[in-house]
């Protein structure tokens, strides 16, 4: 079973201090589906119920690019992390 809250117990990450995902909150506010929240396989995106603000945690990103492809507002600036950083699969 996958407990996405504890993803770091299963999958290894070399965390960069520079984020590789940056959102444009203005554009996110105009979005009516926030498909990034459900489709991200690492659960990196959260939508605050109280403030309706979309947040992303880049540290546990699996670098699949789903958010980049699924976002139709052009809000996701997404590039691969600098060399050596990010997800670091051992076996898979």
């Amino acid at each position: 079973m996958i407990n996405i809250e504890n993803i770091t117990q299963m999958t290894k990450f070399e965390i960069d201090d520079q984020p590789h995902i940056i959102l444009n909150s203005e554009l996110c506010r105009t979005c009516d589906h926030h498909a990034c929240v459900n489709t991200c396989p690492a659960g990196c995106y959260t939508l605050s119920a109280a403030t309706e603000r979309l947040d992303v945690v880049y540290e546990t990103c699996l670098e699949c690019g789903t958010c980049l492809v699924i976002c139709d507002k052009g809000s996701v600036s997404w590039g691969y992390p600098r060399g050596g950083y990010g997800v670091n699969y051992r076996l898979t």
Partner: protein, 432 residues
């Protein structure tokens, strides 16, 4: 400061390392860039390394040299409902003889091995290097810059082997925006289980392996599941179309967790320990999802070129990537000999690829992409088949109906005759 090479290859996956190996062996100066700490660190697949002549040519007895897990000698296709499943298994002794038909591998291990073989031939592996942008000179691509590092890498030819999202192909103007309808999202859980338990549970001897394709395991989403036996672990995963996932509002890891709970899969997974969770996009657009393959100074190979296909039975990608890498290397070699790096010179790569099984197979099964968009394939039909078999087998001491009547009862409310015929035609177009 600029370093100069004959060829710069972005991405040390199967396509990139294969190209690097061939070019280095021919005596060229090759830079092989890898953004992970080592090749394979970013790579996962839900598949097999199928028998690949381009690889056998370099490693005549691959199975003795390469870090392979098991050779697959039994293929199973299962249609599933939440409670039931019906499976067709094919097993043959001829898949147990070398050269084997397909292997399970661990990508961080296999990809690293292949890149190291390229290094042994003289390629320069630059790990922990993310290519950031292309360098152009006189309208021709002539190198790359590296993220977070000063300086440039110059080369007469750049081979973009940077995977499914290929930012290099995008920057070269060879592809537009990626459409969700052309992508599958793969999520995978690697589960540890002792070798002897796997062998006993799956009926395998020594390094024999089993492969399961699962239809109906995605809660109605367009997609499927896979289960592979590795030496001491199982790979369980799902691939779902991104547009279908978006429309469903479901979370990919929830779908995978539910798959683990399927009563028949539970028995196969019992006692297995989660080792690693991973995710990756899969090019599923077929020919329509492919970018242009070359421009002045650059060629695109592997996933970056959208080389991946399924027709329901065959799921191929890694063998296509390896073959495309080998063909791009052959073309690069000729271009460098002739000192002609123009698009016209590199167009030979596309010709070669077109003449190979890679594009021929993708073309032969191009209509399979439409078949895979049949929603009924993912819930209605598995339910229909399982329901029909249950009606056939169930004994209640009552007179049995004949099969057509059973089929009608089972189909009622699920699928109309008209829809059944339309789908049969679509399947026929895809396969026949």
């Amino acid at each position: 400061m600029a370093k100069s090479f004959d060829v710069i290859i972005v991405g040390a996956g199967p396509a990139g390392s294969m190209a690097a190996l061939k070019l280095a062996r021919a005596g060229l100066e090759v830079a092989l860039l890898e953004r992970g700490t080592r090749p394979g660190a970013k790579n996962i697949f839900g598949g097999l390394l199928h028998n690949t002549p381009a690889l056998n040519e370099i490693f005549p007895s691959l199975w003795e040299k390469a870090p392979l897990e098991r050779h697959v000698h039994r293929k199973t296709l299962a249609l599933m409902t939440p409670e039931a499943s019906v499976a067709m298994s094919f097993e043959t002794g001829s898949f147990e003889k070398a050269p084997y038909n397909g292997y399970t591998v661990m990508r961080p291990i296999f990809d690293n091995w292949l890149a190291e073989e390229a290094v042994r031939e003289g390629a320069t592996l630059l790990a922990s290097c993310t290519a950031e942008d292309l360098i152009r000179e006189n309208g021709r691509i002539s190198g790359v810059t590296v993220k977070g590092r000063a300086g440039e890498l110059r080369g007469n030819i750049v081979i973009a082997a940077d995977g499914v999202l290929s930012f290099m192909a995008e920057k070269a103007g060879l592809r537009g925006e990626i459409k969700p309808g052309h992508m599958g999202l793969g999520v995978k859980l690697l589960l540890g289980l002792p070798r002897e338990v796997i062998n006993e549970r799956f009926g395998l001897v020594r390094d024999e392996g089993a492969d399961y394709s699962l239809l109906g395991i995605t809660r109605g989403l367009r997609g499927g599941g896979f289960l592979y036996t590795n030496s001491e672990s199982l790979s369980l995963g799902l691939v779902v179309h991104l547009d279908s996932l978006k429309a469903s509002g479901q979370k990919p890891y929830d779908l995978l967790n539910q798959a683990c709970q399927h009563p028949q899969l539970q028995k196969l997974l019992k006692g297995a320990v989660p080792l690693e969770y991973s995710a990756h996009l899969v090019p599923e657009g077929g020919l329509r999802g492919m970018p242009r393959l070359y421009t002045d100074g650059m060629m695109v190979v592997g996933d970056a070129a959208g080389l991946c296909y399924t027709n329901g039975f065959n799921l191929e990608g890694m063998n296509l990537a390896l073959t495309s890498g080998a063909l791009a290397a052959e073309c690069a070699l000729e271009a460098i000999k002739a000192k002609d790096y123009s698009a016209r010179s590199l167009s030979r790569y596309q010709k070669r690829l077109g003449a190979s099984f890679v594009i021929k197979d993708m073309r032969a099964f191009k209509k399979a992409v439409d078949m895979m968009h049949m929603e009924r394939l993912y819930a209605a039909y598995p339910e229909l088949v399982c329901g029909l078999l249950e009606r056939i087998y169930r004994a209640e001491g009552k007179p049995r109906d004949r099969l057509l009547k059973l089929l009608r009862k089972e189909a009622a409310g699920r699928v109309k005759l008209r829809e059944l015929l339309a789908d049969a035609i679509r399947i026929g177009r895809a396969w026949l």
